[in-house]
Amino acid sequence: LKFGIVRFPGTCDDVDALLAARRVGEAELLWHGDADLHGVDAVIIPGGFSYGDYLRVGAIARFAPVMAEVERFARHGGLVLGICNGFQVLCEAGLLSGALLPNTSLRFTCRQVGLDVVNASTPWTGACSVGESLSIPAKHTTGRYWAPDPVLDELEANGQIVLRYKAGENFNGSSRDIAGVSNKAGNVVGLMPHPEHAVDALTGSADGLKLFESAARVPA
């Protein structure tokens, strides 16, 4: 399976995502101005500060030429993972429900967080089991997942809540402890913590690799 990692001006976690993906398959960088996805089988929108995030987090990136192709790919069932700023971009693009608000602390926080896998049947969590704990770092200022209550109810009813912060770990104040959600079909997933930073025990945890392994299991 071949991964494509989108690089916007201001993206900063693209190389970690590339190296993480290369542990389980092939991977290459996609440029924000690209008119096609180079034939990749899965797209990752990595973390960072696309276009500086000056207007609003993720607001400009969705208009990048490459995003028109990512949207088409996603709507046809293609595998798309948004991490941190990538999650914000997918929410702004309307590929995922809800939005990310400033942390309740109003401060940037960088820490290891404990997550529970809620849905292990998405292409991005298929190598996990329901209830499994993952230890993955999170680092953001604007990571408080929010959606209106009826939308949250619908996400829960459809199994679209993929990851939750464990009890006591919801440091940013996310609604219903949500750390990651999917679209209705499950092929598009977004999360605030950074699985690409947790792929080797040397740096404290290799739990993040499971998301990449999950996608790699999906027949190309």
């Binding site: 207007l55 609003r56 607001a59 208009f63 702004e92 809800g98 939005a99 608000l101 959606a147």
Partner: protein
């Protein structure tokens, strides 16, 4: 600093635009300048 009676402090975003036709601005707000799910906006001319 000794300032009394300050309440409801709000820091927001102000976008200034020169446009030939102000009737487009509401659509600009809906599509880009604001995220209507989480933000309110007000247009002044």
């Amino acid at each position: 600093l000794g300032f009394d009676g300050v309440a409801n402090v709000h820091v927001g975003r102000l976008v200034e635009l020169d446009v030939p036709d102000a009737s487009q601005v509401a659509a600009m707000c809906e599509q880009l300048l604001a995220n209507p799910l989480i933000e309110d906006y007000e247009i002044q001319s």
